[in-house]
């Protein structure tokens, strides 16, 4: 492409991005690409009919991608490498081997590498998969009834309702009825719904918008029949969602990491010596110090879990918000930022595991 075209091209896209998003929506002519801000939910959603969450599915997709890369890269390794994949694999492994040896000061650092490497690769790949287009935006539309029942089951205030007659259920839970749903356009015959580009927060009559569960269930909104035929109201359940935006994933990795740290400590120092770090009855002060150490060890699990989860969840929300504010061009820098944050968080997680491991195998009583 000619250089003189690129700049105006992106300028036009940028202006379109600003005008089409929520910022432009303030003007009467703007907001033509604005979508209703997505429903943000903390726990991973269970994919109907499969029994596992979309975050689990994303983790498996990431695992398959990662393992495919690993198999191809290490399938036919040569001492004089001829493939780039082998080089990449070597660079990554060598980086962590060198790092572990440098920090721990010798060959004993090697025992940490398999886990540290796995944590890094798992976290970074699943973080990057979370930034891919389509992850979090393609999914199943849950109907108003499903949304209602989810909310009803989760909210204590609604549990008083009678569950014995499921089919003849009366929709009485006020809180669940006030949930918002998004209006999708339907492609007839294919069963595919899509979010229409347009003024997201507008009334349905204007071609898009948000309705309440209550209105849909009681057919006040005329969805599916009547004047708004060809539209459906519901909530998007993404098939794929960043694996680390689910606390279960980050907690699982944190538990594995901290269990491994304990294992390394016990195998290096022996159970008596390692346990002595936490349960030292020689003096009241040492007892207190040991207690603090124990609490610190547990706090590490929590901090591991929430650091990664918080960063990745915030990133997802940031992307959604930016898509709402500045569609197209506007979110590109933030996608770059998310890729960067994904690496940094993976690196922090793995390096902290390494450092905790090295701390665990070092003998404090000698100092």
């Amino acid at each position: 492409m000619n250089k003189s075209i690129i700049l105006p091209f992106f300028l036009i896209l940028f202006i379109t991005s600003i005008l089409g998003g929520a910022i432009g929506g303030a003007f009467p002519f703007g907001g033509f690409f604005q979508s209703p801000i997505a429903h943000i939910q903390l726990p991973g959603e269970i994919i109907p009919g499969l029994g596992f969450t979309n975050t689990s599915l994303t983790l498996w997709v990431s695992m398959v991608a990662l393992l495919t890369f690993v198999f191809i890269a290490t399938r036919n390794m040569k001492s004089v490498p001829n493939g780039r994949l082998q080089n990449i694999a070597e660079v990554i492994v060598e980086f962590f081997v060198n790092l572990a040896q440098t920090i721990s000061g010798g060959e004993k650092g090697r025992r940490f590498v398999p886990l540290v490497l796995s944590i890094f690769l798992c976290v970074v790949v699943s973080n990057w998969v979370g930034v891919l287009p389509g992850v979090g935006t393609i999914g199943i539309v849950e109907s108003a009834e499903v949304v209602y029942s989810h909310k009803e089951h989760k909210t204590d205030a609604c549990h008083s309702s009678d569950h014995s007659s499921d089919h003849l259920k009366e929709y009485t839970c006020k809180e669940a009825l006030k949930e918002h749903l998004v209006v999708f356009n339907k492609i007839p015959g294919l069963g595919i719904s899509y979010l229409p580009p347009g003024r997201g927060e507008d009334k349905i009559k204007n071609g898009g918008g948000v309705v309440l569960v209550e209105d849909v269930i009681n057919n006040h909104s005329k969805i599916e029949s009547g004047e708004l035929e060809g539209k459906s109201a519901g909530r998007l359940l993404p098939i794929l969602r960043g694996a680390n935006t689910d606390l279960n994933t980050t907690l699982a990795i944190a538990i594995v990491a901290m269990l491994a740290v304990q294992f390394w400590g016990i195998s290096a120092l022996g159970i008596k010596k390692y346990g002595g770090k936490f349960f030292n009855f020689s003096s009241p002060i040492m007892l207190f110090v040991g207690l603090l150490e124990l609490i610190a060890e547990l706090a590490r699990v929590v901090s591991f879990t929430f650091r990664l989860f918080g960063n990745m969840f915030a990133g997802e929300v940031l992307l959604v918000a930016m898509m709402f504010l500045l569609p197209f061009i506007g979110i590109i820098p933030f996608m770059g930022l998310e890729l960067f944050v994904g690496v940094i968080q993976a690196f922090i997680f793995s390096i902290l595991t390494l450092i905790f491991g090295i701390t665990a195998i070092s003998d404090h009583s000698e100092h």
Binding site: L66, V70, S118, N248, V256
Partner: protein
Amino acid sequence: MGINLPGLITQLISFAILVFLLSRFLYKPVVKLLDERAEKIKKGLSDAESASKGAEEAASKIQEELSQARLEGKKLVEVAREASNQLREDEKEKIAAEISQMMEKAKKEINSERDSAILELKNRFGELVVDAAGKVIEKEIDEKSHSELINKALEEKAL
């Protein structure tokens, strides 16, 4: 917050499997390869070092041998030159001796030739003189007076 046991166990098992597979298929082979390569490079470097050291040694040895050979060659040439000089001197002396010998011989021969010639001449001269004198005086003198006459004449001549 969404933490639940089934989800947690699912992710735990998934991650544990991933760790196992990665350490089995990524960490182990790559580290093995890296170690092998490091070993190979180390060996190659030390080989190259020893080879270059050997080459250096060989070069210095060759240099030494060369200089020694040069020295020896010089010595040999010197010896040869001396020998040839000696030979030439000897030859010269020999030739000179031969020449002087030959000259001596020749001189001696010449002398003896001359003596014999003189002797013959002396003999013949006497006869001739006798013949001539006989012819002149037309008279035979006896042998005794004859010889006396000759000797007298010769003495006179020699004086």
